[in-house]
């Protein structure tokens, strides 16, 4: 308790961190996590308000509470808010707050990028909501099917606001995902192997890959939609050869992984809560980790099970159904393993475990109805009825929300130093459980009775009355439960029972520091030898690793580390079992760069909703903000314990140690490139999709594309790649001169490439709005050109930086990252050149 008070005093001691300014410029993952959680709870309350409007309107037939226009905005904003402004960000918030604590790190790998992802999320949300003041919010459903979302059927700008919002929050999610992966890979505590990290951290890790590979497909879709609506392209425009089903493929290739993005972290949360309150290790931990990975992987193979009714080929539907059934198997494994964890335990049946048990009980129903929905003929009957609404609320409330609540009651004392009230917790839980059952169980039935989704009213005489009325009553209970939760949070913050550092006698690293933790998280850490480091520490003779769970051996990582400091990690740990970390910085690291950059991004988005002049001005501002960001002196973090496989490789290669931060840039870039690869894959898929639907190509009346300039451009770009590679190799040997030559020539050639492309645009004889050829040609080559330009800017920055005083091996990471990126741009061009000009 004393230590809690100390850390509070410490947190408040530094003037730079206090007040509004402290929060606006924070880069502390804990504060960012709290901002995420608080903001998303706010949006949660708003979206529940929308749900209450819907349930009130639907309680009785032909009710007139709201107009159809209003209702359609309300249901669209309910879904959009719940998915993008509550679900994803609250999970990101928990990830942000907990991940470094769970793996024994002092912050995320990229603290400023972390802050940027919060501000991009917040501004994206505000942008979306501002559409209410500019002619109306989006009313085409969270899936916004074309052609309903095209300009001809959706005249006001709600869809455009939504597009820009999707892009802003997409940027936020991608940055967050890169950060989570790099942090997990590079910054684990001494001795912690990837399979030893807490399951919530592992779920967040897997989830990040889902985000990286799913979101670009949506980005491509909304960009095309935006161009169709505002610049006359023809991607989804049927009379000009476009295809509305292309939108559905792009949307659901994102949309199905998205539902796992919303539920996998909740699975992770349950896997933290259930063992601790059952006083047993997680049953079948290995299988649980594999199951998370499998669910994530299968999630990419089932998108068209949302499209069974659109008339796709028979065998395609068979494949999608089969893959969907497969997902039931790892999901079942998870449920049974949680049950087995509880079985034979000594249950502490507090609110957290109640929500966890509630999730096991309720999610089962969602899983079973999910299987039924993959039975194609049954799906044809119930798709787009209230049966589906009931199904996915079983998974998203029964799964995500109950999981988040279990985690909230579990981790609240860590973040605030105070416990949430158990009596209010019981009321909250009962209102949620029974409210949920009353709301959604009847909706299964009314769906089977033929009630379609997304109707603003319904007619009497169909036998739907009792189900709708009961459902609305249940909805009010859920809303009341949410008020109880907010009351509980408020009351506990002020006068909750003081928790102490480890109120649950738990086993993972976050409980090894104070509540709330100091800005540097840990002064010392136990040596990690398995998934339950604090159990091993508290019960040394019954330690997991003594029973074959964890590692008794010194891991290779520790040996290499030891070589550099002359001791083994066990020596460092000493008899107490705690490893002292290097002394932390006195004050947390504050920076105004992230919020400045986010303002710039918001301005660009606003420009795309008003005028291209604003876009241009905002782009200049963003470029300036980026340069300021890159130039800002980031504090040299004392390096705790880099996973040493990398350290060893690097030490051998360049003859001097490199901090893990330097190492992080290339990894982050590779992840980003993976995401970008999906982006271009989706673009190129769209191109072939439309091209092979067209009767002839190039379409009648359009010219054949001349190959001369692009062929020369190909030669130029490949040469620039070789030169950049040569320069980079020289830099690794310590030869800055040759590095400048290689990169400098690459910049010259890259600029020539762009000049050639601009010349070609002027002479190709058609424009962006000239049918499918114009749409696809300019979009494909234009996005590639933008990537070339981004690579050039990065190279130019490195060249300038190479004349500054701090130039040296610590820049190898950044240079390597840029070179990877440049090679990627090369490869994309080779594919584009083949697809657009040659085939």
């Amino acid at each position: 308790m004393n230590s809690t008070a100390d850390s509070r005093a410490h947190a408040l001691a530094s003037p730079a961190t206090s007040g509004l300014r402290g929060w606006l410029t924070t880069t502390d993952h804990k504060r960012i996590g709290l901002l995420y959680i608080a903001t998303s709870l706010l949006f949660f309350a708003v979206a529940i308000g929308f749900a209450m409007v819907m349930r009130t309107q639907l309680a009785t037939p032909r009710a007139g509470l709201v107009s159809p226009e209003t209702y359609n905005q309300v249901f669209t904003m309910h879904g959009t808010t719940m998915v993008f402004l509550f679900g994803m960000p609250i999970l990101a918030g928990f990830g942000n707050y907990m991940l470094p604590l769970l793996i024994g790190a002092r912050d995320m790998a990229f603290p400023r990028m972390n802050a940027l992802s919060y501000w991009a999320y917040l501004f994206g949300g505000l942008l979306l909501y501002s559409s209410f003041a500019f002619g109306g919010a989006i009313d085409t459903g969270w899936f916004s099917y074309t052609p309903l979302s095209n300009r001809s059927f959706s005249g006001h700008d709600g869809v455009d606001f939504w597009v820009l919002f999707i892009i802003l929050t997409g940027i936020s999610s991608l940055l967050g995902a890169v950060n989570f992966v790099v942090t997990t890979v590079k910054m684990r505590a001494p001795g912690m192997r990837l399979q030893d990290i807490p399951v919530f951290a592992f779920a967040t890790f897997v989830n990040s890959f889902l985000i990286l590979f799913a979101i670009p497909s949506l980005t491509v879709g909304v960009v095309m939609l935006y161009l169709d609506r505002n610049y006359g392209t023809a991607f989804f425009d049927v009379p000009r050869g476009g295809d509305p089903l292309l939108w559905q493929h792009l949307f659901w290739f994102f949309g199905h992984p998205e539902v796992y993005i919303l539920v996998l972290p909740a699975f992770g949360m349950l896997s933290e809560v259930v063992p601790v309150f059952s006083r047993k290790p997680l049953f079948g931990r290995g299988a649980m980790l594999i199951a998370i990975g499998l669910i994530g992987f299968y999630g990419f193979l089932v998108w068209a099970h949302h499209m069974f009714a659109v008339g796709l080929p028979f065998w395609f539907n068979v494949f999608m159904a089969g893959a969907s059934f497969l997902i039931a198997v790892p999901t079942g494994i998870k449920l049974f393993n949680w049950l087995a964890t509880m079985w034979g335990g000594a249950l502490r049946f507090n609110t957290s475990l109640k929500f966890a048990a509630g999730m096991i009980g309720v999610f089962t129903v969602g899983g079973l109805t999910g299987v039924s929905l993959a039975v194609v003929p049954f799906n044809w009957q119930v798709t787009d009825t209230y049966y589906v609404v009931a199904h996915f609320h079983n998974t998203l409330i029964g799964g995500t929300v109950f999981g988040v609540m279990a985690a909230l009651y579990y981790w609240f004392p860590k973040a605030t130093g105070r416990l949430l009230g158990e009596r209010l917790g019981l009321a909250h839980f009962l209102l949620y459980l029974f409210g949920f059952l009353l709301t959604f169980m009847p909706l299964h039935v009314v769906g089977l009775l033929g009630m379609p989704r997304r109707v603003y009213t319904w007619q009497e005489g169909m036998g739907w009355e009792p189900y709708n009325l009961v459902s609305t009553m249940g909805g009010y209970m859920l809303a009341l439960g949410t008020l109880v939760l907010l009351w509980n949070i408020g009351r506990s913050l002020i006068s909750g029972k003081v928790a102490g550092d480890d109120p649950w006698d738990a086993w993972t690293l976050e409980w090894a520091t104070t509540s709330p933790p100091p800005h540097y998280n840990f002064a010392t850490l136990p040596l990690v030898r398995g998934p339950r480091p604090l159990w091993d520490l508290k019960k040394p003779d019954r330690a997991d690793w003594r029973r074959g769970h964890g590692h008794a051996e010194e891991p290779a990582a520790q040996r290499v580390r030891a070589a550099s400091v002359g001791k083994t990690a066990a020596d460092l740990a000493g008899p107490s079992g705690m490893v002292a970390l290097p002394p932390p910085h006195e004050h947390p690291y504050q920076s105004a760069a992230p919020i400045t950059l986010a303002v710039g991004l918001l301005a660009i988005a606003a420009g795309f909703l008003s005028s291209l002049i604003v876009v241009a001005l905002a782009a200049v501002f963003v470029l300036g903000a980026l340069i300021a960001w890159l130039w800002e002196p980031a504090p040299e973090e004392p390096e705790p314990f880099p996973p040493a496989r990398y350290a060893r490789r690097r030490v051998g290669k360049i003859g001097q140690a490199i901090t893990y931060r330097t190492e992080s840039a290339p990894l982050a870039t590779l992840l980003f490139i993976g995401s970008e690869a999906v982006f271009f894959a989706a673009l190129i898929y769209s191109y072939f999709h439309l091209r092979y639907m067209a009767m002839e190509w190039p379409p009648a009346g359009m010219p054949d594309l001349p190959v001369g300039i692009p062929a020369f451009n190909t030669f130029i770009l490949v040469t620039s790649g070789v030169l950049a590679h040569w320069g980079m190799a020289a830099f690794r040997r310590g030869d800055t001169g040759r590095f400048r030559w290689g990169v400098g020539l690459a910049v010259v050639l890259g600029s020539l490439f762009l000049a050639g492309q601009i010349y070609e645009y002027g002479h190709v004889g058609f424009g962006l709005s000239d049918g499918l050829l114009g749409s696809t040609f300019f979009t494909l080559t234009g996005f590639h050109g933008a990537h070339v330009a981004a690579g050039l800017i990065a190279f130019i920055f490195l060249l300038l930086r190479s004349f500054s005083r701090d130039w040296g091996p610590r820049w190898i990471g950044a240079a390597e990252a840029t070179t990877y990126y440049w090679h990627f741009v090369d490869v994309v061009w080779l594919i584009l050149f083949t697809a657009v000009y040659l085939i």
Binding site: F283, G284, A309, V310, A328, V445, L449, G463
Partner: protein, 334 residues
């Protein structure tokens, strides 16, 4: 004592599940997928019951284990919790059993997905989705019948589906599943109705502001009744001789009505709204959502935007006299 609320919660779950099963049939008027009237929909109903049975067994196993775990192991002393880490045998077992179950369900799925080959004498129907009504036509008999179709029982029907604006979905819950109506794409659905009666059709894809009021009715009748209906529908509209109906016709042709609606046998040839040649014979107005009687017809004519806000028929400044005349005219279009 307090432990029992957990058991109560689970009982509630079971009770709700039971209510679902029992309540699943709805009232006799429900467009319920559990009261099918075609062989295809009957097959789906049977599959539904198989799925429900499997689900209930799994549900009961999970909930029983959950409740037992809570009742037996809550509040025990710390030392009693045995530190078990897993069991390969049990884990293989509860991986293998679900695998077997999903293989069975997959087999059922593939077996029921195929639609049977249509015989040559199938009745051909064309359906064009519109915002927010159904443009049905009978190409073999060459007439349009918006928002209402008639079919003979026991004869296969083949419907060609497309859309002129946004995506809609063709769905008659008691007859078969949904098939989307996608602009630029031709989908088909075929079915055979086995019982005479009226069946509700519902738009199954969100299509904009009046998606909620996009329905149609299908009348299944004996082959003789069907032939008589076709013969009547093929006729052009009868021109009323005199009286209010005659004045109604004149008003219809003079007012903007004819710009959007067609009435065969008159100069009204608009294509934007439903064909009204036999509107008086139809059971419903406003795309299957309003019973076709004088009062509703008058309501609709006075204030279409009040009855179905946002629909594409604008309010016209009609005098009450004109409304009554139009009602008479429409009623006579049998």
């Amino acid at each position: 004592v307090r432990r029992d609320w957990a058991a109560a919660a689970s009982l509630c779950l079971v009770a709700v599940a039971a209510a679902m099963v029992l309540g699943g049939c709805g009232t006799p008027d429900s467009p319920s997928i559990l009261r099918p009237e075609s062989p295809g929909a009957q097959q789906v109903r049977n599959v539904t019951y198989v799925l429900l049975a499997i689900s209930i067994v799994i549900f009961l196993v999970v909930e029983t284990l959950l409740v037992l775990a809570i009742v037996r192991f809550r509040g025990r002393r710390e030392e009693e919790a045995v530190q078990t880490y897993g069991s390969r045998k049990i884990e293989i077992l509860w991986t293998a059993i679900p695998v077997v179950i999903v293989i069975v369900i997959f087999a059922i799925t593939v077996a029921t997905m195929r639609t049977p080959q249509l015989p040559g004498d199938a009745l051909l129907l064309r359906a064009d989705g519109r915002a927010w009504w159904w443009d049905f036509s009978y190409p073999q008999a060459d007439f349009a019948s918006p928002n209402e179709i008639h079919v003979p029982v026991d004869r296969p029907v083949d419907v060609e589906l497309t859309s002129s604006d946004v995506i809609h979905s063709f769905w008659m819950p008691q007859i078969g599943g949904k098939t989307d109506m996608v602009p630029g794409k031709l989908n088909r659905q075929s079915f055979t109705v086995i019982t005479p009666g009226q069946y509700l059709g519902i738009c199954g894809e969100y299509c904009g502001v009046q998606h909620a009021h996009m329905q149609f009715v299908m009348v299944a009748e004996s082959p003789e009744e069907f032939s008589a209906w076709v013969a009547r529908q093929q006729q052009p509209a009868e021109e009323p001789e005199d009286g209010p109906a005659r004045q109604g016709m004149e008003a219809f042709l003079a007012l903007p009505c004819a710009g959007c609606h067609s009435i065969r046998g008159t100069d009204a040839v608009g294509r934007a709204g439903p064909d009204l040649t036999h509107v008086g014979s139809r059971l419903y107005l406003a795309a299957g959502t309003l019973e076709n009687d004088d009062e509703n017809m008058a309501r609709w004519l006075r204030d279409p935007q009040g009855v179905k806000p946002g629909n594409l028929m604008p309010n016209s400044p009609l005098s009450e006299e004109q409304v009554q005349q139009l009602v008479e005219y429409m009623k006579g279009l049998q």
